[in-house]
């Protein structure tokens, strides 16, 4: 075909196609209605995989088409206030540390009309006994406590008995999404089942899915339907930061939970009335030294280097100033302030950047400067530290960069070595590292988060990365954590957590740097009621809770 003919053909097909699709496209519907109802919200696709055509609503799939909205858990933990919100279970009770009873809510139906009962809950837990791949909470093995011995449904209650103390399993248990026995009961291994319908107890059901655009519609028979004001939710597209930012600004997306660099400038400034973001602290990034190696096995050295960490600069470079410096207590302040012992004030637990103090501490501890300005070990041998960081994780790299500069500033010869994340994981497993950055979970179950970071039973193994990467080994700490894991009394818990805080503040097993975020970037032109800095009623990841708070903006 000659060039001219080809051009004509392309032009013809272009016009034809443009005409057809122009007629077929759906223009943005009227988004606010009366009585607070919201017509439609658009979110990015939750399936992380590129081939959306393989629809699977099964929550066991590594890439389910939808994660939020179809299935529900027993209870929801608000990770900011630490309150437990009853959901499919109205209450729970521990008898000792080895018997847990849930009272199951009445009046709940599955989206195909079948009534929801305690038998569905028992089924969901029992299927994990037969098929370990379905046991995401680790109920039937020894993760976080003794394995379960039985799960039975008695009327509207579900009783779980364990072979020993299993209080730390609670977080995992309440988060399990409950499956319908009448559908999943006959498929054998539920992890191998392709769920094409997604019948759940949740507020929405699948209206249509064409492999790319998932449309959910509100269920009128949902157990708290009066709280759900969103009529339709559309999930479409996987966006990187640049695309997401453009779509949010143009109103094509209503909310996004991924990372957008400098959200203030790239999003909020475009329309401060409607564009907002809420980066709630979810945990913290901590500097992790290898405590089995000199000089990190010297508490005085660790204390000294804690003062060369310029957390303010880290915040600027890694998070555009959004995330705050973290407390050395290991607690997520100010949300977890109630766990802080009275001997500390919140401000005092956030260590300042104080080069002079660090130098004084290092000199006093025997790490004197040699003639070349570099510090040496107390016995005079040279001191050279390698800081491994995950290449490609730009926020980690920015933080590590500031940390290394701080160390070199006081004469500690440190080198930054970026490597592939898997190599860094391999270093964590083998214990062959000097310094690295790690994550300390800010969840509410302290035994599982701060506790497991300090417990000697949580050293990484050859095949698994576990929490205690720094290899803190102290029998007193182990005893405290074990007691905390078994405790259900609040006063006792506070005292034990206080002991862990003391260890963090005086012994510096890890050094807290910055809080790490759970992100929500959103618009308020179609829906209000999102959690925010002014009203942090729940953490951004609790989508079900947020959906019950959203309502149309009032017409003013």
């Amino acid at each position: 075909m000659s060039r001219r003919q080809r051009a004509a053909a392309v032009l013809a097909s272009l016009t034809l196609v443009a005409a057809m699709t122009a007629c077929g496209s759906d223009d943005a519907a009227e988004s606010t209605g009366s009585d607070g109802m919201i017509e439609q919200l658009v979110f990015p696709a939750e399936g992380q995989a590129s081939q959306g055509g393989l629809a699977n609503y099964n929550v066991f799939a590594p890439n389910p088409t939808l994660w939020n909205g179809l299935f529900e858990p027993l209870m929801i933990r608000n990770s900011l206030t630490c309150e437990i919100i009853p959901w499919l279970a109205t209450e729970y009770e521990w008898e000792g540390g080895d018997k847990l009873t849930f009272t199951i809510r009445d009046g709940v139906t599955w989206s195909d009309g079948t009534p929801f009962t305690a038998k569905d809950v028992a089924f969901t837990f029992n299927v994990g006994k037969q098929y370990p791949a379905a046991d995401r909470a680790g109920l039937w093995n020894d993760s976080f406590g003794a394995p379960a011995s039985s799960v039975t449904a008695e009327g509207n209650k579900v009783v779980i008995t364990f072979t020993g103390n299993a209080v730390p399993k609670f977080e995992g248990i309440i988060g399990v999404q409950i499956l319908p026995e009448h559908i999943y009961g006959s498929v054998g291994d539920p992890t191998k089942y392709v769920d094409e319908k997604g019948i759940g107890t949740g507020p929405f059901k699948v209206a249509s899915y064409n492999g790319r655009r998932l449309v959910l519609e509100r269920r009128n028979d949902y157990w708290q339907a009066d709280k759900i004001k969103v009529k339709k939710i559309v999930h479409e597209g996987q966006y990187d930061a640049a695309q997401a930012s453009l779509k949010l600004r143009s109103g094509e997306l209503d909310a996004y939970t991924g990372e957008i660099p400098n959200p203030q400038r790239s999003f909020v400034d475009a329309d401060p009335e409607k564009n907002h973001f809420f980066y709630a602290p979810a945990g913290m990034t901590v500097l992790t030294p290898n405590l089995t190696k000199a000089p990190f096995n010297d508490v005085k050295f660790r204390e000294a280097i804690a003062y060369v960490m310029n957390k303010q600069e880290m915040s600027e470079k890694a998070t555009y100033g959004i995330m705050k410096p973290a407390s050395q207590s290991g607690l997520k302040l100010p949300y977890a302030a109630k766990f802080l012992p009275d001997t500390y004030t919140q401000e005092a637990t956030i260590l300042p950047y104080d080069v002079a103090k660090a130098e004084a501490l290092l000199d006093a501890a025997g790490y004197r400067k040699g003639p070349d300005g570099k510090r040496t070990m107390p016995d005079g041998s040279p001191l050279a530290i390698t800081f491994s960081v995950q290449a490609g994780w730009i926020d980690y790299q920015a933080i590590a960069d500031v940390a290394v500069r701080g160390l070199n500033e006081v004469g500690i010869n440190t080198r930054l070595v970026p490597s592939a994340p898997e190599s860094v994981d391999a270093q964590k497993k083998s214990g062959d590292f000097d310094l690295l950055l790690e994550y300390l979970h800010g969840g509410c179950d302290m035994a599982r988060n701060l506790g497991s970071k300090l417990h000697s039973g949580q050293f990484p193994t050859q095949t698994e990365v576990r929490s205690n990467v720094e290899r803190w080994n102290d029998p007193a700490t182990d005893a405290t954590v074990d007691k905390l894991a078994a405790s259900t009394d609040e006063a006792e818990q506070k005292a034990l957590i206080g002991e862990l805080v003391d260890t963090m503040m005086t012994k510096f097993p890890v050094i807290s740097l910055l809080y790490a975020p759970e992100r929500l970037i959103y618009r308020t032109d179609k829906a209000v009621g999102w959690p925010s800095e002014e009203n942090p009623y729940v953490n951004p990841g609790a989508r079900l809770v947020i959906l019950t708070h959203l309502t149309a903006p009032s017409k003013s």
């Binding site: 057809m20 098929y131 790490a516």
Partner: protein, 332 residues
């Protein structure tokens, strides 16, 4: 005959080497698929997140750990390959690798296939004209222009087009292979698919023809200097006939084998273009498989890619033997 037999023998040897390397290389990478999956599920957005050991354990039970020594796994792998069983993908569990690739392949074949063929036709035609009118203004524009366009990074051009035609002017959709239509042989879907592929195709048509243009032009210029062209002109044959029937046809030979090779390469997908346009093709799949350490999927994709190129190479060699009698005669 010996020419063809040698080529087939070489093909089989290379295929075996490719299959073996295909098995070995993914396993040399550090990284545990179960941990990577759980990390992705847990931390949507943040770089690191506490790995819940209970979830990792369950994930590992689901994905299964390979049994037997490396040699036993290799033999099992060869056996499965012979049966056409490529296994179950980790990322898309419980769908099989064949199902997953079946979803992605048509998109890549159509986008890459059509643009490759069109680029070839456009490039070769432009190159031939440029050579025939060498040193004219047309020649300079085509040569310099295509060199400039061809060296522009595809990803940059893609983003530019996206911003200009997608967001600013709103003429074309900005993501996906389609948006609202139900996939299948219906007009709405086909129209949407075409509409969505215009921008990616435009980016490709801008940057890919360069190779063809320059190659064709240079080969033809060389051919035009040959004695037989001078004889044809001396004999009084019309210019057009000399250009098309003799010069262009001979100059086309290397380009044809190049076309065969590039068509073989499309099985690898166009990673950058697909990433920029959120296009569900093989390139995206490959990138996903690598980052998830999805061994079954990754092995099969690499296999497709390598086999595609090898087969194309074989076809190109055969084709050359058929088209150019000199090659056949020389080897015999």
């Amino acid at each position: 005959m010996r020419y063809f037999a040698r080529r087939i023998g070489f093909f089989i040897a290379t295929l075996w080497a490719a299959i073996t390397l295909n098995f070995v290389i993914p396993r040399l990478q550090p990284g545990d698929p179960a941990e990577i999956m759980v990390r992705k599920l847990a931390s949507r957005g943040t770089g690191d997140a506490e790995l819940d050991p209970a979830k990792v354990r369950a994930m590992r039970a689901m994905l299964g750990t390979p049994e037997g020594s490396l040699w036993e796994q290799y033999v099992e792998y060869l056996r499965n390959l012979a049966r056409g069983e490529f296994g179950i993908s980790f990322t898309y569990y419980p769908f099989t690798v064949s199902e997953v690739i079946g979803q992605a392949l048509p998109w890549t074949l159509v986008l890459a296939g059509v643009t490759q063929v069109l680029s070839f036709l456009v490039g070769v035609t432009l190159g031939a004209f440029a050579a025939w009118r060498r040193n004219s203004r047309f020649d300079s524009i085509v040569t310099l222009g295509s060199t400039f366009l061809g060296t522009l990074p595809q990803f940059w051009v893609a983003l530019l087009f996206l911003f200009l035609f997608g967001y600013t002017l709103g003429w074309f959709p900005t993501a996906g292979g389609y948006s609202e239509a139900m996939p299948g042989w219906n007009l709405e879907f086909i129209a949407e698919a075409i509409h969505h592929s215009i921008l990616p195709a435009a980016v490709l048509m801008l940057t890919v023809p360069t190779g063809w243009i320059l190659g064709m032009r240079n080969t033809m210029v060389m051919n035009l200097g040959e004695d037989y062209i001078r004889l044809a002109k001396a004999k009084g044959l019309p210019d057009r006939l000399i250009a098309l029937r003799y010069a262009a046809r001979n100059a086309l030979l290397p380009s044809i084998t190049g076309l065969a090779l590039s068509l073989g390469g499309i099985f690898g997908g166009l990673i950058l273009i697909e990433q920029a346009f959120d296009y569900p093709g093989m390139g995206r799949l490959m990138a996903e498989a690598v980052s998830n350490r999805d061994f079954p999927l990754l092995q099969t994709l690499m296999l497709f890619s390598v086999v595609g190129v090898l087969v194309a190479n074989l076809i190109a060699d055969m084709l050359y033997g058929v088209l150019d009698p000199r090659a056949r005669k020389a080897q015999a």
